[in-house]
């Protein structure tokens, strides 16, 4: 099925077109969402939202970018929305915890960084990296994830982000500098806690 045929099929709600779309794009969508949100189940749920959005707004799809680029854009936007909501929820929960702390007099939030010497070492590493990546400015985060996790070419990232290739290069450079700074700070803090 060619891309115009697929788009036409989706507009006409053709079941074969839907099946083709899911077969050819769902895995990429889930994986991209997963690299942003870090939880596979959340990424799978997000992929449903992405495809519903694709399905609902296929009539508005302008064919100046490829369909997969358009789907990537929707995926990135949905993932960032999810992270924003999660951040708001976390802030709300932290405020709730703080209120509870002031009532009980006991601190629930651990200020110590998680240690690497645990059974679940991989999970700890993931947590450290996710925290650092999630603290990056949004554009740097998108460029970093699409480049390092998705292994996309700068040209493709530029198309998804609607930026020039040089802007993407610059974003990536800054993302790496920021990330290594955050990680080095974390490792130095960690070293202080064990000495």
């Amino acid at each position: 099925m060619t891309e115009p045929e697929l788009v036409e099929g989706l507009i006409n709600q053709d079941k074969r077109a839907i099946q083709y779309l899911v077969d050819h794009h769902q895995k990429d969508v889930i994986k991209t969402a997963y690299y942003f949100v870090s939880i596979m189940e959340d990424a799978e749920d997000l992929s449903q939202e992405v495809f519903l959005e694709v399905f609902r707004s296929i009539g508005r799809y302008k064919r100046n970018a490829s369909l997969s680029t358009w789907i990537y854009r929707i995926t990135v936007n949905k993932s960032l929305d999810h992270l924003r909501k999660q951040k708001r929820r976390n802030i709300f929960n932290q405020v709730k915890s703080l209120i509870r702390v002031s009532h009980d007099g006991t601190n629930i939030i651990s200020k110590e960084p998680p240690t690497l010497d645990t059974r679940n070492e991989d999970n700890e590493k993931r947590q450290i990296l996710d925290t650092a990546v999630n603290s990056l400015p949004e554009n740097q985060k998108i460029a970093f994830i699409l480049s390092k996790y998705e292994e996309m070419a700068y040209k493709d990232i530029a198309e998804i982000m609607n930026l020039s290739v040089s802007s993407v290069e610059s974003l990536l450079h800054r993302a790496k500098l920021n990330l290594q700074k955050k990680l080095v700070n974390y490792f130095s803090e960690y070293a202080k806690t064990i000495t």
Binding site: I18, K31, M40, S47, L52, F55, R126, Q180, A191
Partner: protein, 157 residues
């Protein structure tokens, strides 16, 4: 703490962790970077931890989604298709229903008027007939019948 022997500073190492890992340093910088690590335990530890944490990126690439995610998605999209169809039908009905009710009302009013019009000649004919009797009565000077002594009708008291 052991002091680095090389002329490269620790800050150089910490600024170039990614670029060292991705082989983006020049040969000269790469050599100095590695030479510094031999002489600086702290930088060596940081590089090792950095590589350990960033190895998670490759680890994550191997994670696979649920194989049934596709089936669930197809079901969801099909139900969405159905709901779109259902949404379309009420829209159609929303226009058709009031229109048909209004049409029925108009028809009922028209039928009502036509029935009244059909009955109107009968009513006027009856009133003409009464007028005719009254004129005959007055012409013949026949007084209205009054049963004064209640010969024919007895009123109850």
């Amino acid at each position: 703490m052991q002091k680095p022997l090389h002329n490269v500073e620790c800050s150089f190492i910490r600024r170039n962790l990614f670029f060292y890992q991705e082989y983006q340093l020049s040969d000269k910088d790469n050599k100095e970077f590695e030479a510094h690590l031999i002489s600086c335990a702290e930088c060596s530890r940081i590089v090792s931890e950095f590589q350990s944490v960033t190895s998670v990126i490759d680890l994550r690439k191997t994670d696979e989604p649920n194989p049934f995610a596709g089936t669930r998605l197809i079901q969801r999209l099909e139900s969405e298709m159905e709901s779109i169809k259902e949404k379309r039908e009420p829209l159609f009905l929303r226009i058709l229903q009031p229109l048909s009710v209004a049409a029925l009302l108009v028809i009922a009013v028209i039928i009502g008027f036509s029935i009244v019009k059909q009955r109107e000649p009968g009513i006027s004919a009856m009133s003409n007939h009464q007028q005719e009797i009254q004129s005959i009565q007055s012409d013949l000077n026949i007084p209205d019948f009054v049963d004064e002594d209640e010969t024919f009708f007895q009123t109850t008291k």
